[in-house]
């Protein structure tokens, strides 16, 4: 019980309060840095755990021949190939510091097989994934973006202004309005109606104000949750209910 719950609880509490302390007392900065160093080591170790988990999950899927096992097999093959090439630095050449030794070379050294996989495998694949969003957004815009009520109409109006204000169409459509705000209230009002200015106003005023309110709310929530964890009131992160 002590090893499983009390010691982790005390460790979390001590490190948590230490990090808060470092924010207010510069003399304790180095202690905080040491604690964060432990976190960085754990984060690196977590990558190993994550990789192990990926292998186990996909191996189980392949061995059970469960639905989509072919994709799991591809994931495993890709994982092993990239891991072996990357870890063993296959095809990498020496660096300026140690010309005869490839071990200290950059993992993505230009011209190496690992670089080739990155450049001609990963880059186009991930770029394609993101590019596909445009197609789905276009389809959703046509099918689902309806002015069904006041809120939806406001959202639609805002989307219209921002979509057009982000490209040259915005300038072109409202080019007849004065480009210079001038000195009079009327000319400033007309200038503010230009789509590029309306877009900027939406981003700078209602959007920023709303987001700030949400951010402050979230921050307050984090403070209260963190305090509960640090004081040991909330122990759910330790696993089973207390």
């Amino acid at each position: 019980m002590i090893a499983k719950r009390t010691i982790p609880l005390l460790m979390a509490s001590a490190v948590g309060f230490l990090l808060i302390l470092t924010y207010f007392i510069p003399q304790t900065e180095q202690w905080g840095a040491d604690a964060m160093e432990m976190f960085i080591i754990l984060a690196a170790a977590a990558m190993v755990l994550g990789a192990g988990n990926l292998v186990m999950m996909n191996l189980a899927k392949v061995s059970r021949r469960s639905e989509g096992w072919g994709y799991a097999a591809i994931t495993l093959i890709a994982f092993v190939v990239v891991l072996v090439i990357g870890l063993l630095k296959i095809g990498a050449h020496g660096t300026a510091v140690s010309p005869a030794n490839a071990w200290p070379s950059n993992p993505v050294q230009e011209g190496s097989p690992f670089w080739w996989i990155y450049q001609y495998g990963l880059v186009p694949l991930t770029a394609t994934m993101f590019a596909m969003l445009a197609f789905y957004i276009a389809s959703a815009a046509f099918r689902a973006f309806r002015a069904k009520n006041v809120e939806a109409s406001l959202l639609l109006g805002t989307a219209f202004i921002v979509l057009l204000g982000q490209v040259y169409a915005g300038y072109w459509l409202t080019d007849f309005l004065p480009a210079d705000p001038g000195d009079t209230a009327w000319s400033q009002f007309l200038n503010g109606l230009r789509l590029e200015n309306l877009t900027q106003m939406i981003m700078d005023v209602p959007q920023k104000a709303g987001n700030r309110a949400i951010t402050i709310g979230i921050a307050l929530g984090i403070v209260s949750t963190s305090l509960k964890v640090l004081l040991g009131v909330d122990r759910s992160y330790l696993g089973s209910a207390d």
Binding site: M129, F135, K148, L163
Partner: protein, 291 residues
Amino acid sequence: MLNYLRNLDRRIVFLLMGLAVALPILFKLSFPEPVPEGSQPYHVFDQIDNLPDGSRVLISFDFDPGSQGELLPMAMGFTRHCAQKHHKMYFMCLWPLGEPFVEDAMNIVIGQEYPDLIYGEDFMSFGYKPGAEAVIKNCIVDMKTLFITDSRKTDLNKIPMTANIKSAKAMDLIINISAGDPGTKQWVQYAATPAGIPLVAGCTGVQAPLLYPYIPNPLKGLLPAIKGAAGYEQVLIAAYPEMGAADIVDSKYSSKAALQRMGPQFVAHLLMVSFILLGNFIYFYDKKGGA
């Protein structure tokens, strides 16, 4: 006709969107990109440009290939601007797949366009480090226990640029190019605010609304998505016309990459607006019993 539109096959929508993006690229369609005075590209430009030549700038490439379409032009723009001003550039990345972009910035942009700059004296790279915000937090306390060597495995004490630097507090400016977490928000929380280091950033379109609340303090300037990058390129070329030279514009990392990408964005946005209008026209027509 209306019935056809009502049940429009989604593949037609996909095809139209594909054409809206592909045709402007194929025909190199481009439009003027006016940058209003006092807008974000000017804020970002001024932060970098107003620093005395040779200032120390930490540049973090926190993105991966998925976001390179939006972020790479501004990343290379930042690199060019700092190189032009002879600022000392300290590159790093918190995303594992961001490191090749750092290498390209050093080897291709700096290496080909600013051959007089020397690695270790004018620019260097810490490389990638796992740990996200923990890395940022430790950067402002002690960089040398965090990194030990640069990305080329040279001891930091043997590199002229880093020999006398203890932490990121020695930097005059931090530039962050961010595709998510860890990114600009973490640099605001763990570096710019506690250490008081000025920060400018470039981010993806979806991130921009979340980062606006940090402007103007501690975020001194923000380039939101490709539109922000295009504005920044425009301001850069106006200030340094040599960056608009044909060989740089036609190079792998063109100095007008973002401006060129505004063409497809223009047509795609118009198509989106048309889809929304058409969808709503059908909706209201049906609602009034037109069907």
